[in-house]
């Protein structure tokens, strides 16, 4: 009992072929979009690789680029097959390859599903990398004279301005780090000497933040220094002051940005999987409707199209027996040879 049988006359076959051709070209465009998205994601990761400690994993964007190209190729081939399908002379040369093509499409769909899952799972690794990278970034903020780290200050300042965030978890991360280089500290000054002596490691720690933490929406000119000292500023209460500096931590801000990108790409891939499945179903109908034509030369005849030759359970059972016989054929030879030896 064929699965999902549909009767086709010439007009329906022609419409199916034309509709399927357009659908395949739509899938090619989706493949190009996926390729573009992969490139975009790669560029975004590169742009901020400094705050990710330069060891971010480019697995997902590379896979996206590869899968996008594969999708273009496969769907272009499908479109070509549809274009030739109504001309029996041209269709003959594709006929033998079609079963392999359908299997390849199935495999490709599975690959797309795996990539989509990766997009969601790799967000955890991005989170951890960001935490580590930002912590190091804040530590190396002052090292504008150390080769390899001279642009960390600029990168971190631009990141804090762009993403409207301050510090790793929040602005207090800046209180625990010396972010002013010793080159700009007057070591003969008493205040400086007191601060350096006040902690074990001899670091110049202050309750201040860099200017890039300032919030432009504050009605008051930005207060950067002596943040926890209410008496240092007129009419200032550090517990109730909300608008002065950014309250969000950069890890959260950057993570929500990247997870947004990755989730959207994952959902887009799921849509592509649905489109590909529709393509495959349409192609199967087209192939079977052309095969079941009583007389291939006479175009204007009725034929049947189906998705599976037998029902779902029977096809599944057939598949299992095929796999078993494949496995058993290896064993049979092994059983034979010992007998032959004895």
């Amino acid at each position: 009992m064929p699965f999902m049988l549909v009767k086709f006359n010439l007009q329906k076959r022609v419409k199916l072929a034309q509709g399927l051709w357009m659908l395949y070209w739509l899938s090619v465009i989706m493949g190009i979009l996926l390729f573009g998205l992969g490139i975009f994601f790669k560029v975004e990761l590169r742009k901020r690789s400094e705050v990710m400690d330069n060891n971010e994993s480019h697995l997902v964007p590379n896979l996206l680029v590869l899968v996008g190209l594969l999708a273009c190729g496969l769907n272009a081939f499908g479109g070509k097959v549809c274009h030739d399908s109504l001309d029996p002379s041209k269709f003959i040369k594709w006929k033998s390859m079609l079963k392999a093509y359908l299997l390849l499409s199935c495999g490709f769909n599975a690959l797309l599903l795996a990539v989509s899952l990766l997009c969601f799972i790799m967000q955890f690794s991005v989170y951890l990398i960001l935490a580590e990278g930002l912590r190091n970034g804040i530590r190396f903020y002052k090292d504008t004279d150390t080769p390899g780290r001279c642009f960390m200050k600029r990168t971190l300042d631009m990141t804090q301005i762009e993403f409207r965030c301050c510090g790793n978890n929040n602005f207090r991360d800046w209180f625990e780090v010396q972010w002013i280089s010793n080159r700009y500290l007057d070591m003969s000054n008493d205040v400086v000497k007191d601060r350096l002596l006040s902690n074990v490691e001899g670091k110049y720690l202050m309750d201040s933040v860099p200017f890039s933490c300032c919030n432009p929406a504050s009605p008051r000119p930005c207060i950067q220094h002596h943040l926890t000292n209410n008496s240092a500023h007129y009419d200032y209460d550090h517990r109730s002051e909300q608008l002065n500096i950014w309250t969000q931590g950069c890890r959260e801000a950057l993570f929500s940005y990247y997870s947004g990108i990755m989730s959207s790409i994952g959902i887009f891939i799921l849509l592509i999987i649905i489109l590909e499945s529709v393509d495959m179903a349409g192609l199967k109908y087209l192939i079977t409707s052309l095969e079941t034509m009583t007389d291939p030369e006479v175009q204007d005849c009725e034929s049947e199209g189906f998705l599976l030759e037998k029902g779902v359970k029977e096809t599944f059972a057939d598949l299992l027996t095929k796999i078993k016989t494949l496995g058993r054929s290896n064993q049979v030879e092994g059983g034979d040879t010992p007998e032959a030896n004895t």
Binding site: D145, D157, Y184, L185, D186
Partner: protein, 362 residues
């Protein structure tokens, strides 16, 4: 003497019609491009509306948008004409419209040229507008509690950070203005009282700038206050410090940005003008060739296409004469009205004369 005559066989006419149809659709897309360009320019100008005093520069994107829409319509008409051109029954109805079409196409090209010229000519006005707008912005920076000005601070801060500039001409503009609101000044402090008394207007002026002037590329954490006092900061020389704040003034930065934008659209607009002119000339050739062919005994034979029936000078004289005729037609009526009462008098005289003369006869 016919201007730029060309011979057209039937095949050439067909090819011309097909080629012109494609080119007209391309010109429609160019018109859409010009429209989108106008919209983009207008949104960019509107985004910085708060630091501009007048909207004179908006004439450039307005004209671009109008011309874009008009060009889409005109070139769509051209595609319809091309489609009908090879059908002798449908072509004559376009005859009257084509004259108006040519005038419209020439007008569009002139307007596009005017846009290119204006975008250079209005640079001075843009700078003036920005100068006044930025001066006001800096003056009202502290008024975050005054309705209508509460977002001035945020606007100026975002502007300085985005365009990497400070102040109107340079950062010293901030020294001349009180940019810290009185709400945040401790009037019991000696320092504050000294500063307020140190100038005539009683303003709290300092040699400091807002945080948005800070340059992230500086190797040193940003110095915002006591900028002219070398001893206030360790290892600091006010005259030689270059990277601490942004050196550019915001007026210069914004003017450069908008001039770059308009200059980069210049080549695009010029190529749209070229395309429109070529559509114009090709349509004129098609019109004259098809009309010539329709007048022949054998419509499929050879015909001539030309740009102008007579030479340039003669066509100009003809057009002038026509225009004067139309103008005179408006004048002729009152001139004709005057002689008629004169004529009535004359006829009255002649009737009286005639009445006078028969009496001796009788």
């Amino acid at each position: 003497m016919v201007l730029l005559k060309m011979k057209f066989t039937q095949q050439r006419r067909v090819r011309l019609a097909q080629g012109l149809w494609l080119m007209s659709w391309f010109a429609v897309m160019c018109g859409a491009f010009v429209f989108c360009l106008g919209i983009y320019l207008k949104t960019e100008l509107l985004r910085r509306d708060e630091v501009m005093e007048n909207t004179e520069i908006h004439v450039v994107p307005n004209i671009l948008m109008m011309v874009g829409l008009a060009s889409i319509g005109t070139n769509w008409v051209a595609t319809r004409v091309c489609q009908d051109s090879l059908d002798a029954s449908r072509f004559p109805r376009w005859k009257v419209l084509l004259m108006a079409w040519f005038a419209a196409a020439v007008l569009l090209c002139c307007l596009l040229l005017a846009v290119v010229v204006l975008s250079y000519a209005l640079q001075g006005r843009l700078e003036e507008s920005l100068k006044v707008g930025l001066r006001n912005g800096i003056r009202f920076y502290k008024d975050t509690d005054v309705p209508g000005r509460c977002f001035q601070k945020e606007t100026i801060d975002h502007l300085q950070m985005e365009f990497r500039c400070c102040g109107n001409n340079n950062f010293k503009d901030w020294f001349e203005v009180q940019w810290v609101s009185n709400r945040y000044l401790d009037f019991t402090s000696k320092d504050v009282k000294d500063r307020i008394r140190s100038n005539v207007d009683g303003r709290y002026l300092l040699d400091g700038v807002p945080f948005s002037c800070c340059n992230p590329a500086s190797p040193r954490p940003c110095l915002q206050y006591h900028l002219t006092d070398n001893s206030a900061h360790y290892n600091y020389d006010y005259q030689s410090e270059e990277l601490n704040l942004y050196n550019r003034g915001c007026r210069q930065a914004l003017t450069d940005y908008y001039m770059d934008l308009m200059n980069s659209t210049g080549p695009g607009v010029l190529s749209v003008i070229l395309i429109q002119m070529s559509v114009l000339f090709s349509l004129r050739y098609l019109q004259t060739a098809v009309e010539g062919a329709m007048a022949l005994e054998n419509p499929e034979g050879e015909s001539e296409g030309y740009l102008l029936e007579k030479g340039v000078k003669e066509t100009f004289k003809d057009v002038k004469a026509k225009v004067l005729d139309v103008l005179k037609f408006a004048q002729v009526d009152p001139a004709a009205a005057e002689p008629s009462p004169g004529n009535e008098e004359k006829t009255a005289d002649t009737t009286t004369e005639k009445a006078a003369t028969p009496t001796p006869a009788s």
